[in-house]
Symmetry: C2
Subunit: 354 residues, 2 copies
Amino acid sequence: MYKIAVLPGDGIGPEIVPEAVKVLEVIGRRTGIEFQFTEALVGGAAIDARGQALPPETLDLCRQSDAVLLGAVGGPKWDALPPEERPETAALLPLRKELGLYANLRPAYLFEPLAEASPLKREIVAGTDLIIIRELTGGLYFGPKKREKAGTGEVAYDTMLYSTAEIERIARLAFDIARRRRCHLTSVDKANVLTSSRLWRDTVESLKGEFPEVTLEHMYVDNCAMQLVRRPTRFDVIVTENTFGDILSDQASVLTGSIGMLPSASIGGSTALYEPVHGSAPDIAGQQKANPLATILSVAMMLKYSFKMDGAAAAVEAAVGRVLAKGYRTADIYVPGTVLVGTAEMGALVRQEL
Amino acid sequence: MYKIAVLPGDGIGPEIVPEAVKVLEVIGRRTGIEFQFTEALVGGAAIDARGQALPPETLDLCRQSDAVLLGAVGGPKWDALPPEERPETAALLPLRKELGLYANLRPAYLFEPLAEASPLKREIVAGTDLIIIRELTGGLYFGPKKREKAGTGEVAYDTMLYSTAEIERIARLAFDIARRRRCHLTSVDKANVLTSSRLWRDTVESLKGEFPEVTLEHMYVDNCAMQLVRRPTRFDVIVTENTFGDILSDQASVLTGSIGMLPSASIGGSTALYEPVHGSAPDIAGQQKANPLATILSVAMMLKYSFKMDGAAAAVEAAVGRVLAKGYRTADIYVPGTVLVGTAEMGALVRQEL
Ligand SMILES: CC(C)[C@H](C(=O)O)[C@@H](O)C(=O)O
Ligand SMILES: CC(C)[C@H](C(=O)O)[C@@H](O)C(=O)O
């Protein structure tokens, strides 16, 4: 029996999360494994009901669960709050830190039928299958920061701070994932300018010997931002610092057609967290228009990384592939000649294919 | 009379720079303005001859000139050096800092005949005409940094540090450039997470009243990395922090077909610096294969920003457009059906069109 904390959150969250839960229920019936789901409040919904984006009971539930499924948080309703108090920041950052989720895994995989929807030419994007591993609890996000008066104005700073141990654990994880994929690891830094990047590069380099089957290359972050657009197929696994990873993974997320297709996993602690890459899309919330596939693919990642059910994970991915191949599309990936379906309908189609 | 310091540098630098110099000579003859060129060593060439990537006499020459034209620096010969001693880092960073070049201007403009060469679909890239203004002497590159032993390992940090005054001067410059373009300014930060970004956002916002004709929007850096690929035409002027600008401008540079087409200007001090965005391309150096257009377009920026010769600048850009429209291409932008030409030939074609 696996306990899963279900945090639908805001906007389209409450529409897409149930579709992913139902997929897990099918897998459960099929494999005889019981998944026990418990819902909790997070984000704007939690601010409204409890006055906090991440109430202690939600954090406790997550800690006691085997995995967390999160929908999306945030929306215009809470945009008047200072940036650091908005649902995204005030829920996601402490959740990552408290659960010790030091690695964010973001695959960018092209489902062939969606090449049309990519901003890239078909011959550039065809075959894209990469994963970005972003360090998630260190670097510029969590280092010392301050804002203070100085002369007639102010100064403010953030610190990109890393220790050998922090870099080693994320690098080991990246090498290990590369070893199970195409054995190619790109470590991204700015070692020609940044001191923390030099420690990053030296540390990653020092682990190379432990993974002889993996080819390691180092790439500057600016060059990586270019190569991702120019030739995404050259990448297999990319590992990088928190802020660089934030930028590069969002960039990578549009290459394959729609951010509505992209799952993510945040791992490292005892309880991992799974969520779609996209946001709460308040403009289409409550209209059954949202694409549930990113959330469904996130539970495929849950099956793989939290429950070691690689077969079930592959089955979910294959089901999604078949639904797309048959021409079904939600609005975000619709092109003329395909069949437009809503959120629940798309979820049902995936379950039928399972 | 204008004095121009000419720093060809390494790799293809010595092949492309003369083509740009000759363009300026034509402009000089045409307008009756005298340009006086003085060459100096920089980068790997300077390391070899003088033991320093930026010899004092080169810096002095730059200081005494009205503008600097730089080719490119770096190459495999110097890659064995520690990253911070390589020509790129050891020449460019102190040159920017010493000349007070706090603003790096990088246009990404699609020459219509090159839509073929873009990794983006034609309907996505058509009409792209944006400029990224990157803060160049502050932020993560120049804040306090350190690496030291800690326990059994090490820690290292860099500091993203900004003062109100630093942000104000780059923001004013960006507003002013937006005012002369399509009056749309996007300020890019990560104000939901970073303290320095909050100061950035507040400071940019506080200047809005001085430029009532400009529409200002704020965008998170991760979102900007997405939008640049998804819909580059939505941008006019983008202003951002040093490291964010490094990443975003390199990303933008591949959208329009070839990095071989992209000029840059670094301004702010009394002497501005103009250089192509691309590197020294050691693999094709000495073969007359390099594209001189980025360097030629860099002197167009020089005419505009250093000498206020907007008409001459537009004439150079138009000449480049006509050469491309006639089907001439260097190897980096060649597609079947066009006419392949070498470096000097491309330079001559532009001068003919002038
Ligand atoms: C909302 C924000 C704090 C978050 C981040 O930057 O980590 C988001 O952009 C993400 O990538 O999950
Ligand atoms: C070579 C390097 C120091 C430089 C930078 O990061 O500024 C380069 O990438 C650039 O963008 O001009």
